[in-house]
Amino acid sequence: MELFITIIILAFLFETMDSCAGMGFGTGLTPLLFILGYEPLQVVPILLLSEAITGFTAGYFHHEFENVRFSYKRPLTKATKIMLIIAVIGCLAIIFSVVLTYYTLELPTKVIKSYVAILVLAMGLIGLFSFKKMKRTYKPKMLIGSAGLAGFNKGIGAGGYGPVIMMGQIFSGIYEKTATAIVSLSEGIVSIVGFASFLFISSYGVVIDYVLLPSIFTGGFLAAVLAPYLVRIINNKIWRVVIPVYAIGIGMYCLIQLSGALS
């Protein structure tokens, strides 16, 4: 077993932001690891497995640090119900994307990835410039709509699930700290299904390389414990600005990557 310091630091930074702002672990870390010379089968399933463990850890500590109240017994709290809705839509999206890959349906990758990058950028800009005017009433229909949209994007392989879900929750009137906690736990569940689908594919002869797992897990796990504490101590007014700004950053990062400047 080998530990890579650079990978531990990168995983720690991206998981900290993911557990604080609800987005960026997959979208940010995957292309960086490709640039560092790692292959998709060394990166994607390992990120999913790591995110599965860290998602549950972050969700647990978000609950512990009172950023959210989850329940595992009936009656379920609203936060738990929302988390389950988001997770189920995400799981269906993963299964759909595996089916698409299985039937090798070719979609115009650049076009759909540009669409998601622009969508994330626009949501970030709207979130940033309208956070003062935004009415903080809970809108469940909008929440389900944004979960469906994020699931559709993930299903067609365009990514950006975290940013769309996160901004969708904020637009639906959910308190930022709680929205982050909900995304963390639901991403944990979605990642289990994602990793299981990779195991399914590996039974058909695709070999998963686990060399990065200890490093990504180490950085991710430390962040999953620390981030909920940061979310608790930093005031929500700050997260209200940081989250859309980070979404804008991710949208721009995706666009730059698509233009080929990073490769």
């Binding site: 077993m1 463990i53 850890t57 647990y60 500590f61 512990e64 640090f65 009172e66 950023n67 959210v68 109240r69 009656p75 709290t77 609203k78 936060a79 929302i82 809970y138 959910i174 308190y175 700290k177 709680t178 929205a179 906690a181 686990y210 060399v211 797992l213 200890p214 897990f217 180490t218 796990f221 414990v225 504490y229 608790r232 101590i233 005031n235 929500n236």
Partner: protein
Amino acid sequence: MEEIKKDVAHINEVGYVARMVDTTMSTKDRMKIKKNTILRLSGAILLYTLIMIFFSFIL
């Protein structure tokens, strides 16, 4: 009884707990960690160690 039900419903609202922590506690108070939380953090460190030992065996 009705009042208790209303209270519980309110607590179950999304974001209620986080909002209460933000409005009723100062940053300094929010930084304090409860004894139970320290125990759970120790549990997390133990879990991390066990998982890493598991990885060192299988990888």
